[in-house]
Amino acid sequence: MNTFAELIIVFIILLNLVLAVSGSLSVCIRLAAIQGVAAGLLPLMAVGGMRGRAMAFAGFIILLKGVVFPWLMFRAREKTGARRDVDPLIGYPASIMLCLGAFAASSWLGSRLPLPHSGVAFIIPASLATIFTGFLLITTRAKAITQVLGYLVIENGIYIFGLALFVEQPLMVELAILLDVFVAVFVMGIAIFQISREFDHIDTDQMAELTDWHRPEDAKW
């Protein structure tokens, strides 16, 4: 069981690398969904994890992250007609090296923090690296949908981190977290639809009207 959990962790790390360099929106959405499902499977691999409550919760997470969120994203994509690709702004070599550097840094950090040692190795570095990949997605992609995807990937990482620390969490808090994420994604989806209607595109790097940095020729004191 432990080896299988480790393999899932390695798989999640590899998914991070592919997410960092992938240039196609539908591929990114599917990868984020697969990552969410893999993260949802992890607690079942823990010691004594096959209990009823854990299985129900894992099923719920897999449903939410593997079915509902991608469906919302794909719907947003269709409604906004965003068919173009989302190549990273910083290029393939920089992205993949940043992601790898993040993993190395998280491994070092994980060894320094006195966190409770779970049976599965690399779970702390994997979670921190996933959070970093989410940040990378938000900052290096220009489309609003990919930014929401980055937020989802950050939530994946935080979920794995939570798994690393505890085996037991109060059910209500877990559910509250999931509900918040779901509503957040839902609201963001609505916002994206509004953006596409208003701007005819969803390139967030072109939404730069509100700013305090004015050019001298604009000065109208």
Binding site: A144, I177, V183, A184, V187, M188, E198, F199, L210, H214
Partner: protein, 497 residues
């Protein structure tokens, strides 16, 4: 009682979505906010004894009100009552005049009033939950809920700029709150051996047993997460956009109530850290970021072109001062809390007044607003009063708060902090003074000589007057019950091991 406090706005908000009649819905808004304020007043009255630590609620260990929560709940409730009165008049005005964006000259729609009113009431429910929560997980979920519920409020005027502001707000605040979740997880890990979970009372009583490095990591993440929501530099980038593009009612609530709720999240973390003996660590971080916010807001106020953005940067400045005060410790914490009360009331009044200016001039550009005294004298009087109150000119209540912080800074020997603090307070005053005076005096360009003065609806003036009166009174006289409440709150924050 606390359960009633939470469910009243919740049910009213859900009902507001369904109600078709505008007049009935507005009455519901007024009634719900009045009821909420009445319940809050009752809670204040019930809390005469200064020694009682917490009023436990029938909801068990999740909700309860200590002195700190009560202060912020009071501010929120009073603010919301004024906002409800203002909103009723505002919605009526909006319904009669089509929206016209003066900068670019295009016409825009507004969101349906039901959505606006419903989200407003649910927003109140979420903020009440933040102030009343005794479980840090519930606090986190409530803060996230406020983000999600306030996004439609910001997007009331449906046009490009508000959409851009809403998107930035949604994304940055959600990511910040996700980091705060990491902080919660670290906090849970710090208390893993003791099995405290995220219950605030348990964590406070057993703070000594928490693991120190993990607690430090938890504080850092919670600070960054809730600090983003509070508007501390350098996480403040969403604040000027969101607070300037939202309707004035919403801006007032965001600046006056929501930023305080985010600050409450940080304060809870500080409580736990102080209990564990990490007061110096947290104090240093707070002082640093408080000064940074002060510097940033001062620099951006100087060249400001949009008066609502100006007010937003002033909010950032005051959040910085509050963080600085809390970081310095001692009497400065009392000053920070006093500043919180004064800032919320005056900033709300100022935002309401800016709404009146917007209705009169139809533009947000400072360069195009001149001669306010001539065109709308009552508004101009309120505008100038608000300026003096918010910059801390005595006898403003904010002056007292800022002075206490100054006193503590000098007393603790932190002369560099004091120097930066004074210099940038001066810069902010100068920047604000120039702009406010420019706007109020002078002759308006291209004004027709027979133009009637602008008549402000009574419902929009009275809340401002009452708020400003409260802040003025605070400068002269702090009522005894408020003083004891502030003292107990201060004791809660800096209670050592």
């Amino acid at each position: 009682m606390v359960t009633l406090l939470l469910t009243l706005p919740l049910i009213a908000g859900l009902a507001a979505f369904i109600i078709e009649d505008d007049a009935l819905r507005r009455r519901l808004l007024l009634g719900a906010s009045a009821g909420h304020s009445a319940l809050t007043a009752a809670l204040f009255l019930a809390r005469i004894q200064p020694r009682s630590a917490c009023i436990s609620a029938p909801a068990g260990e999740w909700f309860g009100l200590d002195a700190l929560g009560l202060i912020f709940l009071g501010i929120t409730s009073v603010l919301f009552l004024g906002a409800a009165v203002y909103a009723v008049c505002y919605l009526e005005l909006e319904k009669r005049n089509p929206g016209e964006e003066a900068e670019e000259g295009f016409i825009f729609n507004n969101a349906p009033e039901a959505v606006f009113t419903g989200c407003l009431l649910l927003f109140l429910a979420a903020m009440t939950a933040v102030t009343a929560s005794r479980n840090l997980g519930i606090l986190w979920a409530s803060v996230e809920a406020t983000t999600l519920l306030s996004a439609p409020l910001i997007y009331f005027h449906r046009h490009k700029r508000s959409l851009e502001a809403t998107w930035k707000y949604l994304l940055i605040c959600s990511v910040g709150i996700a980091l705060a979740l990491m902080g919660n997880l670290f906090l849970g890990a710090a208390g893993l051996k003791t099995g405290f979970g995220l219950n605030l009372d348990a964590l406070l009583s057993g703070a000594q047993q928490l693991d120190k490095p993990l607690l430090k990591a938890a504080f850092l993440f919670l600070f960054v997460g809730y600090g983003t929501k509070m508007g501390l530099a350098p996480f403040h980038t969403w604040l000027p956009d969101a607070h300037s593009e939202a309707p004035s009612v919403v801006s007032a609530l965001l600046s006056g109530a929501l930023l305080n709720c985010a600050f409450l999240g940080i304060l809870r973390a500080i409580q736990i850290c102080s209990g564990a003996g990490l007061a110096d660590f947290t104090g240093g971080i707070l002082t640093l970021f408080g000064l940074l916010s002060l510097i940033t807001s001062g620099l951006f106020i100087l060249g400001q072109r949009d008066y609502k953005r100006l007010l937003a940067y002033s909010s950032i400045e005051h959040m910085g001062i509050m963080a600085l005060g809390t970081g310095l410790g001692g009497g400065a914490v009392y000053g920070a809390l006093l500043n919180a009360i004064g800032h919320s009331l005056s900033k709300a009044g100022l935002f309401f007044t800016s709404g009146l200016i917007l209705a009169a001039y139809k533009t947000k550009r400072i360069s195009e607003v001149k001669g306010l005294l001539g065109r709308a004298p009552r508004t101009a009087a309120l505008w100038l009063t608000g300026f003096f109150l918010i910059t801390g000119t005595p006898p403003s209540g904010i002056f007292l708060g800022k002075f206490l912080i100054l006193k503590a800074a000098v007393a603790s020997g932190k002369y560099l902090v004091t120097g930066v603090y004074l210099v940038f307070l001066g810069i902010v005053f100068a920047g604000l003074a120039r702009i406010f005076i420019d706007m109020s005096f002078g002759v308006r360009d291209g004004a027709a000589p027979e133009e009637k003065p602008f008549v402000e609806p009574a419902g929009m003036i009275w809340p401002v007057c009452i708020f400003f009166a409260c802040v003025l009174t605070l400068g002269f006289y702090v009522p005894a019950w408020l003083e004891t409440l502030l003292n107990s709150a201060q004791a809660l924050i800096r209670k050592g091991p």
